[in-house]
């Protein structure tokens, strides 16, 4: 009988050793927020001893799933909010008067000054200067928008590559887990690794996971496409080296089925890929169209008409022209890229050797053509043309109704409402991102509390294990003593 006691005490010592190893693992991981608590499960061995039957980990399926959803949503909204923050530089603090509307207002005020002293060359030059600032601000806005779209396109490509490499890693880890589970070995570390891969994946793309028999996991996009089932599916996108205004970027496809872009039947709803696609294909495009439309309105407002008794010549671009000038673009139809190419006509720009007085006299688009000359008598104090320009800058004109600018509307109110639109979507995206991030933090905290390592808890377990070890050792000594006395007795 004594040898049975000896065996049991020995098994207890071994179990204590294994238990303390698990505690050590927990303590080592206590700083890592994503590590789960490992538990050594003891069972009674045949013959009365104790063995560590398995090592499992603390997990919470429901919280893990909500964390995935929260992570995807937060990442998507953050991508949108970040991009809109970049676009907001085109509006900035209203006090700085940096928006297109503010610059158009400055031009109108310069024209007002010019109308009071039409012969004042410096008033004319400062009006030209204001016009150039306005054109430049539109060029800059257009560049900023294209930059944001290009960045989003590059970001999509990076995300797609990340997703593919994560899926490859996932495949390896998942296979190890399935095999380990079958063999009954400790796979808790691999499970942690797999969870962390899935969480990274969720940042890029909205996903759902299903765990099947044998710890095998399958991943689907939030729209229901298979991303991983036994093997990884390819996620693809062809990046565009140059995204010109009006050009559409290529969509992201999972296994050949598009998940972004207009009309994608299985479009992804969350994750960075969805957020970046929204920026590239919706927000930046709308803002770009609005900016182009304002540029078109400007060219139209400052265009010159045939002043002959019986007008026969077409309208031509005046103070503001563009790459397709001198023809005036048709009214009420957005011309993509106009904001990028709008400029002040060189014939009126003193820094290019032009004559700023043409602003008073007309015929900027075609200097010297009498048909487009408004100041027929050449009077120095002629303010009729400048007054007309002020009027047409404020008058309501048709805008492309697809852009949400309001039509008909004055140029300055239209430009202001474009800024208002941007600030509105930015406000929504920013507060949404904030809310989603908070939600993610809370879910993360809840998950960490239910599955994470608590130092104090593990220290207490360690004390218990130590006590058990001491007792077992004592038991061994006592049995040894008993053996000794038995041997001595004979």
């Amino acid at each position: 009988m004594l040898s049975i006691g000896l065996d049991i005490a020995r098994s207890a010592l071994t179990a204590s050793g294994e238990q303390s190893a698990v505690v050590a693992r927990n303590i080592a991981n206590s700083g890592s927020p994503l590590a789960s608590r490992k538990i050594a499960n003891l069972t009674t061995a045949p013959g009365g001893g104790v063995v560590v039957a398995s090592v499992t980990r603390a997990s919470n399926d429901a919280l893990t799933k909500s964390l995935l959803t929260a992570t995807s949503s937060a990442a998507g909204q953050r991508a949108v909010a970040g991009a809109l923050e970049q676009l907001e530089a085109t509006v900035n603090d209203p006090e700085l008067n940096a928006s297109a509307a503010a610059n158009a207002g400055t031009l109108r005020d310069a024209l007002l000054v010019l109308s009071t002293s039409p012969d004042n060359i410096s008033a004319a030059a400062s009006a030209i200067d204001a016009a150039k600032r306005l054109a430049t601000s539109l060029n800059e806005a257009s560049n900023a928008i294209q930059h944001v779209r290009q960045t989003a396109d590059a970001g999509l490509n990076t995300s797609v590559n990340t997703v593919n490499s994560l899926l490859a890693k996932f495949e390896t880890v998942n296979r190890e887990i399935v095999k380990g589970t079958l063999d009954g070995t400790d796979v808790t570390d691999q499970l942690d690794a797999r969870d962390s891969i899935v969480r990274s994946l969720a940042e890029e793309l909205g996903i759902r996971t299903i765990t099947r028999a044998g710890n095998d996991m399958a991943i689907f996009t939030d729209s229901g496409l298979t991303l991983f089932d036994v093997s990884a599916r390819r996620v693809t996108m062809v990046p565009s080296p140059v995204l010109t205004p009006g050009a559409t970027g290529n969509s992201v496809s999972v296994d050949g089925v598009p998940v972004t872009g207009s009309g994608a039947p299985m479009a992804s709803q969350s994750g960075r890929i969805s957020g970046l696609a929204q920026v590239r294909d919706t927000y930046a495009v709308t803002y770009s169209r609005q900016t182009d439309e304002i540029a078109r309105g400007l060219i139209e407002a400052f265009s010159e008409q045939d002043q002959s008794a019986s007008p026969s010549l077409p309208d031509i671009a005046g103070l503001f022209t563009y790459s397709g000038g001198p023809a005036v673009p048709p009214s009420g139809i957005t011309v993509p890229g106009l904001a990028n190419s709008i400029s002040v006509n060189v014939s009126v720009d003193p820094s290019s050797g032009g004559n700023p007085r043409l602003l008073r006299d007309g015929s900027i688009g075609s200097p010297g053509t009498p048909a487009y000359t408004y100041n027929q008598t050449g009077a120095a104090g002629y303010s009729g043309r400048v007054e007309k320009l002020i009027d047409s800058l404020t008058a309501a004109r048709p805008f492309d109704t697809a852009n949400g600018l309001g039509s008909p509307a004055g140029l300055i109110p239209a430009a202001a409402s474009s800024s208002g639109w941007l600030e509105n979507v930015r406000q929504k995206a920013a507060s949404d991102a904030e809310y989603r991030t908070t939600l993610m933090d809370r879910t993360h905290e809840a998950l960490s509390r239910s599955t994470g390592v608590s130092l104090d808890d593990d220290m207490t377990s360690l004390l218990e294990i130590e006590r058990a070890y001491q007792t077992s050792s004592k038991l061994l000594t006592m049995i040894d003593n008993m053996f000794t006395s038995l041997l001595n007795a004979t």
């Binding site: 006090e95 509307a101 005020d109 008598t377 905290e445």
Partner: protein
């Protein structure tokens, strides 16, 4: 099996995220306290940013027009001063003519007074302000009236000479002028001479001004004429009266004929003087409209400023309260972090 919902990393993570959030809010609040405006106007106002931008443009426009109105007012003050001068000249001329009618040396006195008056009219009509001839209409860079007595003689002088020569067959300085009868001269004064001062002839010979007056925008939707013109009828009539006495050979005319010329001049001048007053009152009305418009715009401007304020500004008292609350929160958080750090079972084993 563990049942408590607690993990070491969750504890530090929670305090960390709370601290970061509170510090970010503190930075915004400090900025708000310093500027008195929302830290991020666009983020706070959203779609109403459009309203702020529009209001700021309206404000700038009112300021620009107000500033321009200052210039317009000064120009009209200058115009008024010149018109006053013109009116005084007409009065002086009238009394000189009345005196000359009965005086033995009447012709010389009258001629002298008329020459002075004509010179003065020329210089008054050529008044300029800020590089702009105020009586030139929109031909602001053209001197409206040339000096009648300059050499070589201007178009106005030549036209009078030619008309006289065509009517009587000799020049004004010729002694033969003494032979001109009262009725012959009267015919000339009413006919060819008066025609020289009719609008179409005046424009080419006497005046370089454009008929179109300067129109100024005195408020966002109000445009009015803000200049008097050298082509106005009273100016033409005065020039006619002055030239009649100054340069139709008055020194040689018989006393009877001279008297009829002076009478004619007196009649014209008296009528023109009333006309000048009419112009003065027209400009006066314009001045009043400008000052009314400026007043109105300054009121509007105040209202807009106030409205921008309600949209953009923060309540300083509320911000200070927020700052002190945040500071307290952060301090408590620091103290708590330090305490929690000490609070580990390891320290007590």
């Amino acid at each position: 099996m563990k049942t408590s919902l607690f993990s070491t990393s969750a504890l530090s993570e929670t305090t960390r995220t709370l601290l970061v959030a509170a510090q970010a809010k503190l930075i915004d609040a400090q900025k708000e306290l310093a500027t008195g405006r929302h830290a991020d106007i666009g983020r706070t106002l959203g779609t109403r940013t459009a309203e702020v931008i529009s209001l700021r443009q309206d404000h700038a426009r009112l300021k620009t027009i107000s500033d321009a109105n200052g210039l317009v007012s000064s120009r009209m003050d200058t115009t008024q001063a010149a018109l006053n001068g013109l009116s005084t000249d007409a009065g002086t001329f009238l009394s000189a003519m009345i005196a000359a009618r009965g005086a033995p040396q009447g012709a010389a006195i009258a001629q002298h007074a008329a020459q002075d008056a004509l010179r003065s009219l020329t210089s008054l009509m050529n008044t300029s302000f800020d590089g702009v001839y105020v009586f030139s209409g929109i031909n602001t860079d053209v001197q409206p009236v040339a000096d009648y007595f300059q050499t070589p003689p201007p178009a106005s002088k030549l036209a009078v000479d030619n008309a006289f020569l065509a009517e009587f067959g000799f020049a004004q300085g010729d002694p033969l002028t003494a032979t001109i009868t009262a009725s012959a001269l009267q015919n000339f004064l009413d006919g060819p001479f008066a025609a020289l001062f009719d609008a179409p002839n005046w424009d080419g010979t006497w005046s370089g001004a454009a008929d179109q007056n300067i129109r100024s925008r005195i408020s966002p939707n109000e445009m009015i004429e803000t200049s008097a013109n050298a082509n106005d009828e009273p100016v033409r009539k005065l020039a006619q009266a002055f030239a009649m006495v100054a340069d139709l050979g008055a020194q040689n005319l018989s006393p009877e004929v001279l008297k009829s010329v002076l009478d004619h001049a007196i009649k014209l001048t008296a009528a023109a003087k009333t006309g000048v007053s009419a112009i003065q009152s027209r400009i006066g009305l314009a001045q009043e409209r400008v000052s009314k418009a400026s007043e109105r715009m300054s009121l509007q401007s105040d209202i807009i400023t106030k409205h921008i304020g309600t949209l953009e500004n923060v309540d300083p008292a509320e911000v200070s309260l927020r700052i002190s609350a945040l500071t307290t929160q952060i301090e408590t958080s620091y103290a708590l972090t330090a305490r929690l750090h000490d609070l580990s079972l390891v320290n007590y084993l």
